[in-house]
């Protein structure tokens, strides 16, 4: 199957690959997977405690080109947004941006899940702190 130029770009030159300190109170970690294809995706965010702005985001994905591109794009998009703004990102936005074909829609779902899981983890940490 032919990948779109944007997928290829993110795949060959992924942004924000890596990891953040999982133990930090400012970091939220989301680990999600799609059993049908065996993909796993880890996405981490670092949130400024004052402004609630996501200052940094990292990911590591084991999966197909579309899964890697979707998570790479997700980290680009969440950076600079507040937590609440980041929750507005929909998988369909990712599909549109990357022109994903129907068989690859689950990759975009996975990326949205990863964002939400990371934010959920961060929120839980804030409650535990309080």
């Amino acid at each position: 199957m032919a990948y779109s130029d944007k997928v290829l770009d993110h795949y060959t030159n992924p942004r924000n690959v890596g990891s953040l300190d999982k133990a930090s109170a400012e970091v939220g970690t989301g680990l999600v997977g799609a059993p049908e294809c065996g993909d796993v995706m880890k996405l981490q965010i670092k949130v400024n405690p004052e402004t609630k702005i996501i200052e940094d985001a990292k990911f590591k994905t084991f999966g197909c080109g579309s899964a890697i591109a979707s998570s790479s794009l997700a980290t680009e998009w969440v950076k600079g947004k507040t937590v609440d703004e980041a929750l507005e990102i929909k998988n369909t936005d990712i599909v549109k941006e990357l022109s994903l074909p129907p068989v690859k829609i689950h990759c975009s779902v996975l990326a949205e899940d990863a964002i939400r899981a990371a934010i959920g983890d961060w929120k839980k940490k804030q409650q535990d702190e309080a």
Partner: protein, 248 residues
């Protein structure tokens, strides 16, 4: 034409031999033996089987060969056009049905599909629900398994990198070999677990056949099998990747 007459017509078509008018068996007319037109059917019904998971493989194989012989398109070269094309279509249906039901895992996956399981669709819907409600989506795979899959993939990546660079890391290799043994064990244990789920499923279907309402139980066993199939595909992929890195 009223709906009643329409459905009566349909029932007639479905049960009456097109050639001699007698009542027919599923694939051939019992009276004159002619091939009957293909009707949309699931693979269990194709073999005249109930929707149960314990199937005797020997019996299935015998049925398959017997039907293959009777449906073989070569037998119909002198038959009327429609019977020729029906035999061809049914032969290919037969092959698909046999291939699917023969293997325990594809049989289970096929049944789950018949029971309305669509992992991709369900995952998408769950995400949309979580988004709308502002809640957390429950992942379909247990978190500790995801963690294990992720960590192992990191190690595999390192091992591949070593290989590429011509470097050797014996301790990493030993660790991966240990992991492979452990996963092989886990994978093999799944067969016994699947058998237990099958027995449970078949018992539920037997109760449904005797007229009991078993919807809740049916969904519960179904979802247990979905969970098993998901775990299985992760473990299978990991073992495959381990074999590729370690060699067999």
């Amino acid at each position: 034409m009223s709906t009643d007459t329409k459905s009566a017509e349909k029932a007639k078509l479905a049960h009456e031999c097109w050639s001699c008018g007698a009542m027919r068996a599923a694939h051939f007319c019992e009276s004159c033996g002619r091939v009957q037109p293909p009707v949309p059917t699931d693979y269990f019904s194709f073999f005249g089987l109930p929707r149960k998971l314990n199937i005797d493989p020997k019996q299935l194989e015998r049925e398959f060969y017997a039907m293959s012989r009777k449906l073989h398109p070569d037998l119909f070269v002198r038959a009327v056009d429609q019977e020729q094309s029906w035999s061809l279509e049914k032969s290919s249906q037969l092959n698909d049905a046999y291939r699917t039901l023969k293997d325990p895992v594809t049989r289970t996956e096929y049944l789950l599909k018949l029971e309305g399981v669509n992992l991709e669709e369900q995952s998408k819907t769950a995400t949309e629900t979580a988004r709308a409600a502002g809640t957390q989506k429950k992942q379909m795979v247990p978190p500790d398994l995801l963690e294990e899959v992720f960590e192992l993939n990191m190690q595999l990546e390192e091992a591949r990198m070593n290989k590429k660079m011509g470097e050797d890391d014996p301790s990493l290799k030993t660790e991966l070999a240990d992991t492979r043994r452990r996963l092989d064990g886990k994978f093999n244990a799944l067969a016994a677990e699947l058998q237990r789920d099958w027995d449970e499923w078949d018992a539920v279907i037997a109760r449904a056949e005797s007229g009991e309402i078993v919807d809740t139980e049916r969904t519960a066993v179904r979802d247990k099998m979905v969970d098993l199939v998901n775990r299985r595909s992760y473990i299978r992929n990991l073992v495959r990747d381990l074999n590729e890195v370690l060699g067999n």
